[in-house]
């Protein structure tokens, strides 16, 4: 039995200090176990500090690559806090889950490819998506061919096209002219008109948007789209 060791251990737990080693007997071990569970049940107590996560990230980078990470970490943690409410009646205790997700901003420099390849159907044909006059400089022109949908725009006078479907889970993107970005309604991912991911809140960055083959013929802009039917007749 070690009453002093136990008292000190419990006191350290209550003061948020690192508890000191001692040799407890069975009943003291049971009291420590209960004290730990009581402390762990405190509202919001078990969320890791962002500074700790960032610091460990740097240590891991040094271990894995021998160098600190290129992009300094910036508290992009998917932090889930469990909050426990214990009222005057403990029977009424209820666990409440509150999720707060920090927004991850992806560096705009070309650290990732601007597009995840070109959409090239096995069996396709050129399909008109707009008159040339409908796509002046600076305009993001939407199109929907059923089998594929996307946006065409001009870059240095030449037409370019990207898919209009989010690469995360396939929600349909919309273009916000005010910030010149494509936005996903599902998880607030945003893409540049070129297809590059700009911001997301996901654990892993989604892929950039595929580009489509596009050409300008006889006053019309055409994309190379699947020839087959969208749905069987």
């Amino acid at each position: 039995m070690n009453a002093r060791g136990l008292r000190k251990y419990i006191d350290d737990l209550l003061r948020g200090r690192r508890p000191k080693a001692f040799v407890p007997d069975d009943f003291e071990a049971a009291q420590i176990r209960t004290a730990i569970e009581l402390r762990a049940a405190r509202p919001g107590s078990d969320a890791p500090r962002p500074e700790f996560l960032d610091d460990l990230h740097i240590r891991l980078a040094q271990q894995m690559t021998g160098a600190p990470p290129e992009v300094p970490p910036m508290s992009k943690w998917n932090t889930t806090r469990r909050q426990v409410v214990v009222g005057t009646s403990a029977a009424a205790a209820a666990a409440v889950t509150a999720v707060s997700v920090d927004r991850l901003v992806v560096g705009r420099q070309a650290e990732a490819p601007a597009a995840s390849g070109e959409l090239t159907p096995n069996d396709g044909r050129w399909v008109r998506v707009a008159a040339s006059s409908e796509v002046p400089d600076g305009v993001m022109h939407p199109f929907d061919l059923g089998s594929v949908n996307g946006f065409v725009r001009r870059v240095n006078g030449k037409p370019e096209a990207v898919s209009g479907v989010c690469t995360h889970q396939g929600c349909r993107l919309w273009f916000d002219a005010s910030d010149d970005q494509l936005h996903c309604p599902c998880h607030t991912t945003s893409f540049a008109p070129s297809g590059q991911v700009l911001t997301h809140q996901l654990p892993i960055a989604p892929k950039p948007l595929p580009t489509l083959m596009v050409r300008e013929v006889d006053g019309a802009i055409e994309v190379f789209a699947p020839a087959g039917p969208v749905a069987p007749a």
Binding site: L14, R17, D26, I32, D46, F52, L56, W77, R82, A95
Partner: protein
């Protein structure tokens, strides 16, 4: 526009197991996706930040290097939980010479609330069985982080009595918590 010509037909290939193909791109993705639940799992079993941080760092420093990135997300998480189990067991061996808490084998995915911690439910059940003043002192001290002085004032008793009350309440709670075997 030669690059804009369609490619020839490709061979149709079967994907062996689509479910197993959701892996991580690199070790950083593994860390960022799993650090929070690993920390919370350990915190629930040591009850203090300093130990939870040290043990979380130990888990990732030990686990990431030998990790195969071809493993699925579920496999990576099972491996991290197993590593955390080993690290926690070693921690108790070194500090108190016996296993105080452990990371159990469970069916739920490691990142689920049930797997991370059942402390809130267990605590609620235990507190419910205690006499009012025992329950109150534990709530005031452990859950609401009041000082012994504040707790004594709240209960309208002396500090010395509050200390004794806390001591007895924790002993009784521990007996209830361990199924009354002691």
């Amino acid at each position: 526009m030669s690059r804009n010509e369609p490619v020839g037909p490709r061979q149709l290939r079967a994907v062996p197991d689509p479910g197993a193909f959701h892996g991580y791109a690199d070790w950083e993705a593994v860390y960022q996706d799993n650090a929070t639940w690993v920390y919370r799992t350990l915190f629930a079993r040591v009850g203090n930040r300093a130990d939870a941080e040290d043990l979380t760092a130990e888990v990732f420093l030990a686990a990431l290097r030998p990790l195969r990135l071809t493993a699925s997300v579920a496999e990576v998480r099972a491996y991290l939980r197993a590593t955390a189990r080993t690290v926690l067991a070693a921690h108790w061996r070194e500090t108190l010479g016996r296993e105080i808490t452990s990371i159990e084998d469970i069916e739920q995915p490691p990142e689920s609330e049930e797997a991370i911690s059942v402390a809130p439910q267990r605590v609620a059940e235990v507190l419910d069985t205690l006499p009012d003043n025992y329950r109150r002192i534990l709530e005031l001290r452990f859950l609401e982080s009041n000082s012994i002085k504040e707790s004594a004032a709240e209960l309208g008793i002396t500090v010395a009595n509050a200390k004794v009350l806390q001591h007895r309440a924790l002993r009784l709670a521990a007996q209830v918590n361990d199924g009354g075997q002691l």
